[in-house]
Symmetry: C2
Subunit: 359 residues, 2 copies
C-alpha cells in the first residue's frame, strides 16, 4: 500500500480512502490511484484491516462434518447468504464431540470471527456457549434447541411427526412402529411426542414395544428393525425418525426380502437427496434446510448489527414439509411414475419430487 501511495504520489491514507470509499477523493487522484493499483496488482491486506477495525467479516460455522443432512445445504446456504453481506465462512468441525466442539469454538474466537452459527453437539455442556456469551460473539444455534440465551432456528417436530402417523392411520394401519433417534436429545423427544400425539388423534393405542431406538444412525436402525420384526404382532407400518435411520430401515427390510409398501409401509422424518429415484419413492417430512440456514444468517446479521446487545433472543421454528410419495402405500395422484416424467415433462429440481405442503 505504501508502494501504491508513493507511485501515485499521494499519502497512504488517500489510497485507503479510494479503496474503501470512506471519504471524498478528487476524481483526478482517484483515477491515478486506481491506475496504480491496477498496474501493480495490489491486493489490500484484510488482515491488517481487521486488526484496526476489529472486525473480520468472517462467520464461523460449527457443526459435525458427519451431519451430512445439514452439512451440504446449510454450509452452502450460510455461505451464500453471508456473502451477500460481505462475509466469508470459516469451517470448524465439531466431530460430534464436546471436546472438539470447544476446540473449534476456541479457534473461531482466536480468529475473531464476527459471528457464529452453531449446531450444538449432543451432550454439549454449555461451557462453550458460556464462553461465546462471555466474549460477546453474536451466535445463533441451529438444529437443536437447548439454550434460551441464544437466537435459535430449527424445525417443528411434534406436529410433523404426528401428521406422518395420522397419514398411516388413515390408510388403515393400526400397528405403527417408530424407529426413534438417540434418547435424551430434544429433537428425538419431540418426534416421539409427535408420534404419540398422532396415535392419540387417530384413536390408536400406544404400545411401548412399537418404539425402538435406532440411535440416530443407519446401523443401529437396521438392527432395531430386525428386533421389531421378530415380535409376534409385528407392525405393518414404520415411521423413521431421521434420514440415516431410514437407510437402515430400508436395508433391514430388503435384507428380509420385504417389499415397501406392500409388506411394510414406511414414512420418514427428513428427506433424502434423490429420494424420488429410491424404490419406493419415500413419503417424508422434509426439513426446509436451506431456509433454516438463511434464517440463521438473517438473525446473525441482525445480532451483529445490534451493538448494545439489547435484543431479546429469538427462537424460530420452521414447519416441516410433507412430501407425499409412495412408500406409505398411497398411489399419489399426478405423481405416479408414468405421468411424472412422461414425454414433454420438464426435467429439473434435484430434490425429491412429489407434492409438498407445509405443516
Amino acid at each position: 500500500m505504501a508502494d501504491v501511495a508513493e507511485r501515485a504520489g499521494v499519502a497512504a491514507s488517500t489510497v485507503s480512502h479510494v479503496v474503501n470509499g470512506t471519504r471524498p477523493v478528487s476524481p483526478a487522484t482517484r483515477e491515478r490511484v486506481l491506475e496504480v493499483i491496477e498496474e501493480t496488482g495490489y491486493v489490500p491486506n484484510r488482515v491488517a484491516r481487521s486488526l484496526v477495525t476489529s472486525d473480520t467479516h468472517l462467520i464461523g460455522i460449527v457443526m459435525s462434518a458427519l451431519t451430512n443432512r445439514f452439512f451440504v445445504p446449510v454450509v452452502a446456504a450460510i455461505d451464500r447468504a453471508g456473502r451477500r453481506h460481505g462475509y466469508s465462512s470459516v469451517l470448524a468441525d465439531s466431530r460430534d464431540r464436546v471436546a472438539s466442539e470447544a476446540e473449534a469454538v476456541n479457534m473461531l474466537l482466536s480468529r475473531r470471527v464476527d459471528g457464529v452459527v452453531l449446531a450444538p453437539v449432543v451432550g454439549d455442556k454449555r461451557t462453550v456457549l458460556d464462553k461465546l456469551l462471555d466474549e460477546q460473539v453474536p451466535t445463533v444455534l441451529i438444529d437443536r434447541f437447548l439454550d434460551e440465551r441464544f437466537d435459535q432456528v430449527g424445525v417443528e417436530n411434534v406436529e410433523a411427526t404426528a401428521r406422518l402417523v395420522e397419514h398411516l392411520a388413515a390408510l388403515g394401519h393400526s400397528r405403527i412402529a417408530l424407529v426413534s433417534g438417540l434418547r435424551g436429545i430434544p429433537t428425538t423427544e419431540e418426534r416421539v411426542a409427535g408420534y404419540e400425539l398422532g396415535l392419540d388423534r387417530a384413536g390408536l393405542r400406544r404400545n411401548r414395544e412399537l418404539i425402538v431406538s435406532g440411535k440416530s444412525a443407519a446401523g443401529p436402525a437396521e438392527r432395531a428393525v430386525g428386533e421389531l420384526l421378530g415380535h409376534k404382532d409385528a407392525p405393518t407400518a414404520i415411521v423413521s425418525g431421521n434420514n440415516y435411520m431410514t437407510i437402515g430401515v430400508l436395508r433391514a427390510l430388503r435384507g428380509r426380502g420385504m417389499r415397501v409398501p406392500d409388506d411394510m409401509a414406511v414414512v420418514a422424518y427428513d428427506d433424502l437427496e434423490f429420494a424420488d429415484v429410491f424404490q419406493p419413492r419415500l413419503t417424508v417430512v422434509a426439513q426446509p434446510v436451506a431456509q433454516i440456514a438463511s434464517k440463521a444468517v438473517e438473525l446473525l446479521i441482525r445480532r451483529m448489527a445490534d451493538k448494545d446487545g439489547t435484543r431479546e433472543p429469538q427462537r424460530v421454528q420452521l414447519p416441516g414439509v410433507f412430501v407425499h410419495r409412495e412408500s406409505c402405500g398411497c398411489v399419489v395422484k399426478g405423481t405416479s411414475p408414468r405421468s411424472l416424467t412422461a414425454p414433454g415433462a420438464k426435467g429439473g429440481g434435484r430434490r425429491g419430487r412429489g407434492a409438498g405442503s407445509a405443516l
Copy 2:
C-alpha cells in the same frame, strides 16, 4: 495480552513465549502466566499474530457449492487433513461461473490464506490461475486437469470408463449407449475416450448415435435418454457419465415404465450416496473423493513448506473404484439382497456396499 502481562508481572513478550512455546520460560513464571490467562479468559488474537508472521494458517477452498459430488466429502476431508496441521478452512463459492471464481480467489488473496485448493470452473480463463501464480500462493487443483503449472489431483477416467463398457459387453450387450457430460471439458472427453476404448477392446462397432449429451446434469440427461429410446435399434445398456446424469437416466427409464436391469442395463461413473438402497443397486466406478482431498492437502502442505518454490508441479491421478452391484444385470455373488443384511450382519458404512476394486 498487555493486561495479562501486567497482572502476571511480566513483559508482553514473555506472555507470547509461553503461549507459543517459542523460547524457554522458567517454570515459575510460566505457571503464573498460565494462571492469569486462565482467570482472565484471555484468547490470543490470531489476526494480530498473522499480521506480523504473515501467515494465517488458513486454507482457501474454491469450488461450486452446487458440485455436491465434491462439496461434502472434499470439504470435509480437506478440513480434517488441514486441521491436523493446524490449518482452518475458508470457503469460497465459485458458483460455477468464471467471474465468481475470480471474485472468490480475490477474497482469499486479500485474506492472505496460506494455500488454496481449487476445483476450477468450466471455462476458466486462467487469469485467476495467473494471479494465484503471481501472488505465489501455493495452490493445488482438483477434479479437472487444466494447467500444468500447478499441482493437480484427479481421477483416472479412460480406463475406468472402458472397464464399465467391457463389463457390459461381457454380459452380451452390443448396443451400449453413453450419456456424456458437457463436451469440451477434459473429464467428459476422457470418459468418452474410455467408452470408445472399451468398445474397441470388446470388438464392438462405434456408433455416433449411441452417444448423447446429458450436459453433466440430471434434466438434460433425462431428455437425452428419451431421444435414445426413440431410435429404432435402441440400446440395451446405458453408461452414465456422472452421478447427476445417472439420476436423470433412472428417472427417464422409470418414466417409461422400464425396469433396470431387465429392460435396460445401467452402469455409471460416480457413486451416489446410499446407492445400495436404490433400486436396482447401481454398478458404478466410484471416485475416491476423500483420497483426492487428502492427497490435495498433502501436496498443498508440501508446497507451503517449499519456501523457494523450487518443486516441480506434480500431477496425481487416482484410480477409480469399480463397485459391482446389480444394475448391470449380474447377480453379484455374496452381495445379493438376502445375504447382504442377513441377521447377524453388521450395519455400518454409509457408502454403497458391494465389491470394490481399484482399476
